[in-house]
C-alpha cells in the first residue's frame, strides 16, 4: 500500500571544501578535474541588502548559495517554493559564543545571538531574503539528516504536488565543541524536486528503505567528505547524477535503515 517516494530533480546546488558550486563539483565527480583540498568558499549573498550581507553568518551564506543555485538551475521562482532545510546542527560559532558567555558571571547575552541560535535560523533568513511564505520545514537527524530531509521533501512533493526545495547543509563548531563534533567545514547540497517531469527535469529519483551498505566513493578525499559532513552522505547520488548514470545507489541513513535511490535519466 506504500506509495513510492518519487520526484523529478530540476535543479542542483552544491558547495563543499574545494567545490564552490555544482558545475565544479560535477566535473570533479565525473573525474574530469581533480579535487584539490581547499576550505569551502562562501559567496557574499547578493540577495541580501548590503548591511545584512555583511552580518550574515556562514550557515546563512551557505544555504542562500546552494538554495539559489538549485533554483536558478531549474529556472524556478524562489518566492513560490516550499522548502525543507535539514542540518545536523545549527550555527556552531554562535552556539559556542552563547555557551561561553553563559558560563561567565555576565550572562546578558546579545538578543541577536539568541535569535540566531535557533536551529531554523538559516531557514528564517531564507524566508526574509526570498519572501517565500510557503511551508518551510527544518529537520535534524544528526548524521542521518540528509536522508531525513529527503524523506520529508519527497513526501511533500508526492502529496502536495508542488515543487519543493531540499536544502541539506552542515557547518563546523569551533573548539572546544569541535573536539566533540568534528565536522570539518561548511558544505551542503540543494535539490529542487518536482512532482511532474518537465523539459527542465534532470533525472527522476525514487527512494525506498534498504539495509545494504552505501558504496564508498573511489576518491579518498571525496569519501572522507562523505563521512565527515552529514549533508555529503548524498555524494553517491550526486556522483551518479554528475555522470549521467541511471540505476540504484544506496545512501547512509539511520542504522540499520538505509535509503536506496533509483535514478532514472531524462
Amino acid at each position: 500500500m506504500s506509495k513510492p517516494l518519487t520526484a523529478w530533480i530540476e535543479g542542483i546546488g552544491f558547495l563543499a571544501p574545494g567545490m564552490p558550486d555544482w558545475p565544479t563539483a560535477r566535473a570533479i565527480l565525473r573525474g574530469e578535474t581533480p579535487l584539490t583540498a581547499a576550505p569551502s568558499v562562501l559567496p557574499a549573498p547578493s540577495i541580501l541588502p548590503p548591511a545584512e550581507r555583511r552580518r550574515a553568518s556562514r550557515v546563512v551564506k551557505l544555504t542562500l548559495a546552494i538554495g539559489l543555485e538549485a533554483a536558478a538551475h531549474a529556472g524556478a521562482d524562489v518566492a513560490t517554493l516550499a522548502t525543507v532545510f535539514s542540518a545536523s546542527g545549527a550555527d556552531g560559532h554562535n552556539c559556542h559564543a552563547l555557551c561561553e558567555q553563559l558560563a561567565t558571571d555576565d550572562r546578558q547575552i546579545s538578543p541577536t545571538r539568541f535569535h540566531n541560535s535557533v536551529h531554523n535560523a538559516a531557514a528564517g533568513y531564507w524566508g526574509i531574503a526570498t519572501g517565500a511564505m510557503a511551508p518551510c520545514q527544518v529537520i535534524c537527524a544528526y548524521d542521518a539528516s540528509f536522508g531525513a530531509g529527503l524523506i520529508d521533501a519527497l513526501g511533500q512533493v508526492v502529496l502536495d504536488r508542488q515543487p519543493t526545495l531540499l536544502i541539506a547543509y552542515d557547518s563546523e563548531y569551533p573548539e572546544p565543541l569541535f573536539a566533540k563534533r568534528p565536522v570539518p567545514d561548511v558544505a551542503g547540497v540543494a535539490l529542487l524536486l518536482t512532482p511532474e517531469r518537465s523539459e527542465r527535469s534532470l533525472a527522476s529519483i525514487s527512494v525506498t528503505p534498504a539495509i545494504t551498505a552505501a558504496e564508498p566513493l573511489a576518491d579518498a578525499v571525496l569519501e572522507s567528505l562523505r563521512l565527515s559532513i552529514p549533508a555529503l552522505r548524498a555524494l553517491p547520488l550526486l556522483q551518479k547524477l554528475a555522470r549521467g548514470e541511471a540505476g540504484k545507489v544506496c545512501l547512509d541513513y539511520l542504522p540499520p535503515m538505509q535509503l536506496q535511490v533509483d535514478i532514472g535519466l531524462c
Binding site: 535569535h115 531554523n120 526574509i128 520545514q137
Partner: protein
C-alpha cells in the same frame, strides 16, 4: 488529508504529570507558574517547571543520553500508559514501521551550558563525560526515543523554535498517508535552560509577572517546560469518541527573525491551510487554542489573523498562563489540551489574564467554560516566522 487516529496521548507540564493533572488544572483555572528559581538563573521572571525531572533515571544501556531533556522525555513516555501503547503498536507493525517525529527548540543544550563551566583550565577542553550527540544535538530526544523502544525505522527531529512539535504532526501525517510507516510517535520535549531564559530576557520578551495572554496589560512570556506525545495511526473506522487529527497547515512569515508579521499574515495562511486540509470551514471550529504567548506583538498579530478568519464567533484561549510557554513542546502540549476539550466537553480559561485587550475583538475565555467541542484548532508560531496550525476532532 485522511484523518488519523491519536490512539494514545499524554502530556506532562508544570501542571503535573499526565492527563488527569492537566484536566484538573485546566478545569479549575490553576496555573503551574512560580517565580523563577531554576539552576543558578537570576532573572526576575516566572517559570513553569516540571517537578522531579532530575530524579528520573535512564536505563543503564542508554546512560549517554542522560540530561534533563531526555529525563523529561522518558518521564513523558512513561506516563498515562503511553510507552505500553507504543510497544503494542511495535508488536502489531514491526520495529521498522513505527516512525519517530519529535519537536524541540533547545533539546539538551543545558548539558553543554553546564559542561562549559567545567572546561579544562589549561586546554579549554570539555569534560570527557559530556556527550554532544546524545544530549545537546537537536536529534537527541528522537534518537533516545528510537533507542528506548528499540525501533529501526525512520526518525527525525523538527526544530523550528516554538512551532516544532506542531509541525511533527504534519510530517508524520505525510508518511502515514504515503504508507511508508504504519504508526508514528509524535510529540515534543523542551526543558528549562539558560539559553532560553536569558535569551528571551535579552529580547525583553519575559514578564516579571506570571504571563497574561491577550490581556491589555500583557508584557511578556513565562517560560515553561514540557513533554507531550501522541501515537498516530491510520484507522479506517475509528471508534466513536476517539480523537482524530483532521488537518494540518504550515506557512512562513518571511518577515523577521523574532517578531511576527504585524498583520498576522503567516498565521492566517497556516489556519486557512489547516481548514483546507481538514475539509472544514471556519464555522466548523468550536474552540481555538491560541498560540497566545503574552507578548504584545504575538497576541496582537495572532488576534488579527483569528478575527479575519473567525470574527468573534469562536471561543478561544491561550493556555500558556497555566503551563507557561513550553517552546518547542508547546505545539504537542496544546494539541493534547485540544484532545481533552474534545473528550471532556470543556474549553479552558486563561489563568493570569484579567482584562482582555479591547483591541483584539475575539471571544476570549477568561474562565473555563463547559460545552461540546467537535472540532478544535490549535496554533503554534515560532522564531524565523515558522507557523503551524492543527485541527483535531472526535470520531462520530
Amino acid at each position: 488529508m485522511t484523518p488519523l487516529l491519536l490512539s494514545a496521548y499524554t502530556a506532562t507540564t508544570c501542571l503535573g504529570r499526565g492527563l488527569d493533572a492537566m484536566r484538573e488544572a485546566l478545569r479549575n483555572g490553576r496555573s503551574g507558574l512560580v517565580p523563577c528559581a531554576f539552576e543558578t538563573v537570576q532573572l526576575d521572571t516566572w517559570m513553569g517547571e516540571v517537578a522531579a525531572v532530575d530524579a528520573e533515571k535512564l536505563p543503564e544501556s542508554l546512560a549517554t543520553y542522560d540530561c534533563r531533556n531526555n529525563r523529561l522525555t522518558q518521564m513523558g513516555l512513561e506516563t498515562d500508559g503511553f510507552a505500553e501503547r507504543v510497544r503494542e503498536a511495535i508488536a502489531r507493525y514491526g520495529k521498522t514501521r513505527v516512525g519517530v517525529f519529535l519537536g524541540t527548540s533547545t533539546a539538551g543544550i543545558l548539558q553543554t551550558e553546564l559542561a562549559y563551566r567545567r572546561r579544562d583550565p589549561e586546554t579549554s577542553a570539555l569534560p570527557d563525560d559530556f556527550h554532544y550527540r546524545t544530549t545537546h544535538n537537536s536529534f537527541s530526544l528522537a534518537e533516545f526515543t528510537r533507542d528506548y523502544f528499540g525501533l529501526e525505522g525512520m526518525a527525525m527531529a523538527i526544530s523550528t523554535a516554538c512551532s516544532s512539535s506542531a509541525k511533527v504532526f504534519a510530517a508524520a501525517a505525510r508518511q502515514l498517508e504515503l504508507g511508508t510507516i504504519d504508526a508514528a510517535i509524535v510529540g515534543g520535549v523542551d526543558t528549562l535552560c539558560l539559553t532560553t531564559l536569558y535569551g528571551f530576557a535579552s529580547l525583553q520578551l519575559t514578564s516579571t509577572q506570571p504571563c497574561r495572554p491577550y490581556d491589555a496589560a500583557r508584557n511578556g512570556i513565562s517560560i515553561g517546560e514540557g513533554a507531550a506525545f501522541a501515537l498516530l495511526e491510520r484507522c479506517a473506522q475509528p471508534a466513536a469518541g476517539s480523537i482524530l487529527l483532521l488537518g494540518t497547515g504550515e506557512s512562513s512569515d518571511a518577515y523577521h527573525m523574532s517578531s511576527p508579521h504585524p498583520e498576522g499574515l503567516g498565521a492566517k495562511m497556516a489556519m486557512e491551510a489547516a481548514l483546507r486540509s481538514a475539509g472544514l470551514t471556519a464555522g466548523d471550529i468550536d474552540y481555538i487554542n491560541l498560540h497566545g504567548t503574552s507578548t504584545p506583538a504575538n497576541d496582537a498579530a495572532e488576534g488579527k489573523a483569528v478575527v479575519a478568519l473567525f470574527g468573534n464567533s469562536v471561543p478561544c484561549s491561550s493556555t500558556k498562563g497555566a503551563t507557561g510557554h513550553t517552546l518547542g513542546a508547546a505545539g504537542a502540549v496544546e494539541a493534547i489540551i485540544c484532545a481533552l476539550t474534545l473528550t471532556d466537553g470543556f474549553m479552558p480559561g486563561s489563568p493570569g489574564t484579567e482584562n482582555v485587550d479591547p483591541a483584539i475583538p475575539v471571544d476570549y475565555l477568561l474562565k473555563t467554560r463547559d460545552g461540546k467541542v467537535s472540532h478544535a484548532l490549535t496554533n503554534s508560531f515560532g522564531f524565523g516566522g515558522s507557523n503551524c496550525s492543527l485541527i483535531l476532532g472526535v470520531a462520530k
